[in-house]
Amino acid sequence: MTKLHFENVRRRFGRLSVLQGVSGTVLPGEALLVTGPNGSGKSTLLRCLAGILAPDGGRIDYQEDERALDLAERRLRIGYVAPDLAFYSELTVAENLQFFARLRRVSPERGFEVLDRLALPTDRMVGTLSSGMRQRLRWGWALLHRPRLLLLDEPFQNLDAPGEEGTRALLHEHLEQTPGGLAVIANPASLEIDRVTARIDLGR
């Protein structure tokens, strides 16, 4: 079974306490929605869960098949979409996907399939992509290795209506069809997503 459980996660930046003991649990097929105004710590929480920012305190446990993954394994297993995630502007979309697929030791096919569904041309240089196209690429990159845990920070940011519809369908499929698939979604405003079973409002 896949399970994400975090408890009393705390993080400060200098004197500023951004996360003050946040806890939650997500099980397969479920999504946890984290909301709150700008600066409330949504992205910080997701970066802590992804393992790219060390929390000052608390506990983060992520299990796949009843086995707790260590921090290094967790980093390589998750799918992550965030505004500060960038790719090589000197390479094409296809070259970026192929590079990361080689690092992740998987075929790039899943990434190409996602980008095809999101109508992103793979022969374009990343440096020439619009912000909405970059967001589509982030989705293709995040789903490249068929992760079970998706960490989505403002996942529909900058997307037009077809883009949002396509990525919502991908999220829905992930929660419905991926064995052990679960997600944590951070967004300033509340989102209507079918499988959200818990909410954390960091604005309170």
Binding site: A50, G51, I52, L53, A54, L71, A72, R75, L76, I78, Y80, A82, D84, L85, A86, F87, Y88, S89, E90, L91, E95, F99, F100, R102, L103, R104, R105, W141
Partner: protein, 228 residues
Amino acid sequence: MSPLASTWAAEVAAVFAKEWRCELRTKVALNTLGLFAVTTLVVASVSLGPLGVSKAQGSALLPVLLWLILLFSVAAGLPRAFVQEEESQTATALRLSATPSALFCGKLLYSLTLVVALEALITPIYVTIMNLQVARPGLLVTALAAGGYGLAAGSTLVAAIIAQARSKGTLFSVLSFPILLPLLILVIELTRNAVLGDPAGMALAQLLLYDASVSIFGLMLFPVVWNP
């Protein structure tokens, strides 16, 4: 080769290929290293020239000058190996995709090929312009290989350490001094031995030990400095 080792090697090869593909499209490091190396080479040859120093002075002075040209050329281009990843925000995707040791080795391999290319460009011109008589060319090649590897490994290690710091330029200078100083002392001595026709002596063994130490230290330290 075991499957684990072959996939690790594939990761190293992917990083190496990506570095060169990006470099060949932007040519930032190639231009920086090349411009700095050629400029200092021309300045040194115009100032000293083949007749500017006596043969006795030359054997003492010219190896030092050669390695200073190589050191400052490398210092002008290689510190950006990891800084570029942080500044362009590609570091997050790398952290979530690459095994740290494979990333370090891929970057090191890229730096090494740049240094070797620089040495292959600069050294024959330098030896010719300065009329430097090398009694043991084989030992000179060994010094360039071992010294070049040390420069690449030391620079990659320092580049990784400074990547997340604010004052990157200053920190590179401060950290490079203790890391690269022993290398320079040893490689200059070895180059001087090659010029004079002396045996390699302890300098070669110490240089190889330095290279091995920096590589092992880099592989152990990199995951700590790269990840939070």
